[in-house]
Symmetry: C2
Subunit: 218 residues, 2 copies
């Protein structure tokens, strides 16, 4: 989870790559909320610190730069998605439609229960085509995103071959699926939604994306 660039650790502490240190977790939580509410570029380090009841000094002790905080939030969020969905893909005992349904359901759930992290991750995806964007620090992030998309493409491709799904291009078909799901993070308000709402939304979305790919008359 620690961004590296040319062998130089981007987090202040070296740390095992892939882990977030205790002192960092609070920072990430506060920053994720701030980035969610104001956007990455419009959020100042002072504001993040203020949410922690601290000052910038603390942030720069744990992270070298603002973009590194962003990086850790995004990778953390993406990793959660992958960890949840990968086991479902492996369930060869289930039909492709069932697997896709569960993948979508799980993804939708995370967009709501882990809203701040996931919404920041969505901001990162948008930077995809942005030229000067935020250095090349975010490349690791795009690797994760591609791997995640590949999980969906795999199931869609298999379902196409056994005639569960329409004859779509698997790679293209992941776009409306993940687009619809990611969009949840933008409109869902964690302050207002309760458990029942989340359950209903996740089911509706899972039905929707599976319906979008299934053959009309099987």
């Amino acid at each position: 989870m620690t961004a590296r660039s040319g062998g130089v650790a981007r987090s202040a502490r070296p740390a095992d790559p892939g882990r977030v240190l205790p002192g960092q977790r609070e920072i990430l939580d506060a920053a994720a909320l701030a980035f969610t509410q104001n956007g990455y570029a419009a959020t100042s380090m002072d504001e993040i610190a203020e949410r922690l009841g601290a000052t910038k000094g603390r942030l720069y002790h744990h992270y070298r730069a603002k973009v590194d905080i962003f990086h850790d939030i995004v990778c953390s969020g993406m990793q959660e998605l992958i960890d949840g969905v990968a086991p479902i893909v492996a369930r060869q005992d289930l039909s492709c439609a069932d697997r896709l349904w569960r993948m979508a359901h799980h993804h939708a759930g995370l967009m709501m229960t882990r809203n701040s992290y996931q919404r920041v991750a969505v901001q990162a995806v948008e930077m995809h085509r942005m030229s000067k964007s935020v250095d090349a620090v975010l490349e690791e992030m795009f690797v994760l995103r591609d791997r995640y998309e590949q999980l969906f493409a795999e199931v869609i491709n298999q379902g196409r071959q056994n005639d569960e799904f329409r004859d779509v291009d698997p790679r293209l078909a992941t776009k409306p699926v993940l687009g619809a799901l990611n969009w949840i993070s933008l409109w869902y308000d964690p302050e207002r939604g309760d458990f029942a709402t989340r359950a209903r939304v996740a089911e509706e979305y899972a039905d929707f994306v599976v319906g979008g790919l299934r053959r009309s008359r099987p």
Copy 2:
């Protein structure tokens, strides 16, 4: 198209509301491209001016503030969506599935052919829940967005009542539909896509969203 706030014109020139003056169009085009590539907050007025081969002086002659440029781009983009889709909604001779298909197809097309404006509009939608965001200047924008969403809800509701569609909450059902479609603006690269690609994408998306709502076995 000229943002007003408490009776004070936000564009430098008074102008008929709803129109974009000739001198402004170039600015909007350049700014839309810049906002697309770097994001609204990360784009400087200097950068917009540079794309025009001009300086800030010119921008501030036509617009009072950066946010007013943003406003005009977004409203222009939204208006294009409404203008294209509203006539389709009125086609009572078509089935709801057919109407929704055409609406989605048209929306998808605009996400690609008018990519810069539409992608900026998507940025605006994301600011929905952002607190300090960009003043209250953008309220007119949200009115347009709600009106547009309502067009989709109308057709979905009618289709639900005549059993073309599943028994969904029309308001909730617009979310995955528009989410999937809006997402196109984020991954589609206008530099690379040709006419055939756009046609294929628009059809695939239209099939997808109609399939997502249609009853499985009619």
